[in-house]
Amino acid sequence: MSVPAFSELLERLLFTPGRNAKIALLRGWFATQSDPDRGIGLAALAGELSLRTAKPALIRELIAERTDPVLFALSYDFVGDLAETIALLWPDDARANAPPPTLGEVVATLDAASRAEVPAIIARWLDALDSGARLALIKLVTGGLRVGASGRLARTALAEWSGQPVELIEESWHAIPPPYEPLFAWLEGHAPRPDPRDAPVFRPLLLAHPLEEADIANLNPADHAAEWKWDGIRVQVTAGPGGARLWSRGGEDISGSFPDILAAMDFHAVADGELLVLREGAVAPFSDLQQRLNRKAPGAKMLAQYPAHLRLYDLLFDGTEDLRALPFTARRARLESWFARTAPARMDLSELIAFDSFDQLALLRENARAASMEGLMIKRLDAPYIAGRTKGNWWKWKRGTQSVDAVLMYAQRGHGKRSSFYSDYTFGLWRGEELVPIGKAYSGYTDAELAFLDKWIRDHTTQRFGPVREVERGLVLEVEFDAAQFSNRHKSGVALRFPRIARLRRDKPADEADRLETLLAMIPAR
């Protein structure tokens, strides 16, 4: 019964706004389903299921053989979504006669089938399922599953379900392919923790907190180090006998886009740093890096034109030695000696800035006008490398205009030459478990970013309301603005003065976008 059960899970995840409720649903899935189905479902949700997929046109042909074209057209017009229309219209007559397929069966059968066999196989399954399960199957086999449940959320649910720390799960996750049977065996206490050994795995990052004026008074300059905050993306490099990987800050494997960096990773270590495009020692604007991020497999010209560089600022593992419990100063010393010893190409060390007072730093921060500099990082000297956003370990102190990292919620097509593009964006911040809209923007992006946004929105639409599309909560936008003020225009109670899209934060998971409190703190007292 796993496909019907999976469809119920999908349906609930789609309609459930709250993060905790989503986690409860996922926990229920892990607890009630058996292997390999629960792992396949998990992989599908986390976007890690590789399945031989069928084209939507194939499914459309199948339904055309079974329905009146006029009734199909009227129905499609009413429902709006092709997969849903087909799922609802598929004749129910044959249903009672066949048992519904399991997820394991779907994966194994499609894997073994020849191209010519696929249509009949899918038709047979659709005959055996009810409308909700048909929709799940169609989305699964056409690769169009969108439920707004990220891999991170799934791993958090695994942690809550099993009582194991999410950090350990994160580390094992990347070493075990779907359907993750050894992982479930460990989490259920039947087996020891799968040892990632030399396999390159992602280690959860220490995340920085925004530094507010009020925080500064409590900080002792002598207890802290300062570094420039460069306008690139945060990455983790993992290299050793088991291979090398470049991870985005959310644990997404982006190695493929950066073969130049990969080639330079001929060491055995795990390090944390900022990925940049660097030309003749100067950091290029973020949009240059974005060119590289957009390419899954960049050509030689792209590699030459946008040379990637890594500015390292922390060392998590030296060989197999875990350094994360050491204080910052000790890790920094190890980083420096490791770097001197290894001297990897395309990498350098983040400079430490000497300072006596925060006033002095503030001045430095304001005078640093290069577009590639975002501000400063302030790090507590005795802080160990603890995954997550523990306040007081690392601070980010951005300069200049104010900005927040907001999540794209709705999009609308523009006017004139943008009339075919989804170019007007409504974005929001987290309040508790829900996203609340804070504003709309329709400028600030480059043409390439607009093209990307437009495609992303079409691929990730969850609902349509007339001209407006609601999208999966999956894309973070850095929104710059002149001022924030109280307003009742939006549900959040806040409005932005001259908001514009400063850049796309494709490296940042939506659940790490800013919280509404962060924005409220930017509103000057009246």
Partner: protein
């Protein structure tokens, strides 16, 4: 023009061919009017003589001088609009009882929609038309089951007249609800539903599914549930949702009008799981627009297969469609050799679905 048609068919004459209902049932601004009987069917405004199929407000309007309906429908009308507005003269007819109105024989037959709902069978000079009101073919413990009547013209609704609307068995939807209650025992499941028919059917379905704990009601749902009980439909223990404290509603099931479930009223509930029971929940976008967390596809209207099955059962060569999606139904009927005709009645489908 009507006078001339009537002149062609003298009242006491004998017809060799029964007169086509088109010649004696016509669409007016107030709804369908039966010329030889002098009455309207579910008129949309106050009239002298009305026959009312059921108590929903888009069918039962206040202020008629004379109302013919089932005993239950009349009771529902009195409860909803006050005795004085529910018709100056009220005439109750039992299901199956032939009532003569002028030259026309009127018989009410169960429609299976809500308690008291009736199809109106009209017979005049050997011709028979059935005005079904709203109806469904599924089992419903709170009202009598639909009885098909063979006729010359069948007047149907078409609320869910698209092939995408195949309502799942209500029992499956209840099972889904109860699985959710088990999964979120600390939260209140609040189900948006209309106060006449749907609320009571949900109570009955919950009881059938084995839910014997009290069911909590929004104040707006109390009077009709009490009336159903009075009219012989058992409801089990019902409690107001308004007096209970938040903690006591953890794990409870609350029924409330759709307008209340996502509004300030719902703040009194413990982390509510917002559910909605309606046939429209079949389409995701409809469900998501309302901020519903658990859509329950439970309808008191005929779905697409029921509409087609009913058309076949009543064997009418012609089917008139009062309101809803007439295009798809007309098309599908044509393929079955049945003539469909859209009446475009105004003001229908406003209360519930």
């Amino acid at each position: 023009m009507w006078q001339s048609v009537l002149a062609m068919f003298p009242r006491k004459g004998l017809y060799t061919v029964p007169p086509h209902p088109e010649t004696w049932l016509r669409v007016t601004d107030a709804g369908l009017f039966c010329e030889p009987g002098g009455f309207f069917l579910d008129p949309s405004r106050a009239v002298d003589r009305a026959i009312v199929t059921h108590g929903h407000s888009d069918h039962a309007r206040p202020g008629h001088a004379h109302v013919l309906a089932t005993r239950e429908t009349l009771a529902i009308m009195r409860a909803r609009m006050g005795a004085e507005r529910a018709g100056t003269a009220q005439q109750a007819a039992a299901y199956g009882e032939a009532v003569r109105v002028k030259d026309v024989t009127v018989t009410l037959r169960p429609a299976g929609h809500v308690l008291g709902s009736a199809q109106v069978v009209l017979e005049w000079h050997g011709a028979r038309a059935v005005v079904s009101g709203d109806y469904k073919r599924r089992a419903d413990a709170t009202c009598a089951a639909f009885e098909p009547v063979v006729c010359d013209v069948f007047v149907t609704e078409a609320t869910f007249a698209l092939p995408v609307f195949t309502h799942p068995p209500a029992g499956e939807e209840m099972a889904r609800l109860l699985r959710s209650v088990a999964m979120f025992p600390e939260r209140t499941h609040v189900i948006g539903c209309y106060s006449l028919g749907k609320a009571q059917r949900l109570v009955a379905l919950l009881r059938e599914a084995g839910w014997d704990r009290p069911i909590h009601l929004h104040g707006a749902h109390m009077p009709l549930c009490a009336l159903y009980e009075e009219l012989g439909v058992p409801m089990g223990e019902l409690r107001p949702a308004t007096v209970a404290d938040k903690a006591s509603l953890a794990g409870a099931i609350v029924l409330a009008p759709p307008s209340a479930i996502a509004d300030r009223w719902a703040r009194r509930l413990a982390e509510p799981v917002v559910c909605m029971a309606s046939g429209w929940m079949r389409v995701r976008q409809r469900a998501k627009q309302g901020g519903v967390e658990l859509p329950l596809v439970i309808s008191d209207h005929a779905d697409w297969p029921e509409l087609l099955a009913t058309a076949a059962d009543v064997q009418a060569p012609e089917i008139w469609i009062t309101h809803g999606r007439d295009d798809a139904l007309t098309h599908a009927l044509a393929a079955r050799g049945v003539r469909g005709r859209a009446l475009h009645l105004i003001g229908r489908g406003e209360e519930e679905a």
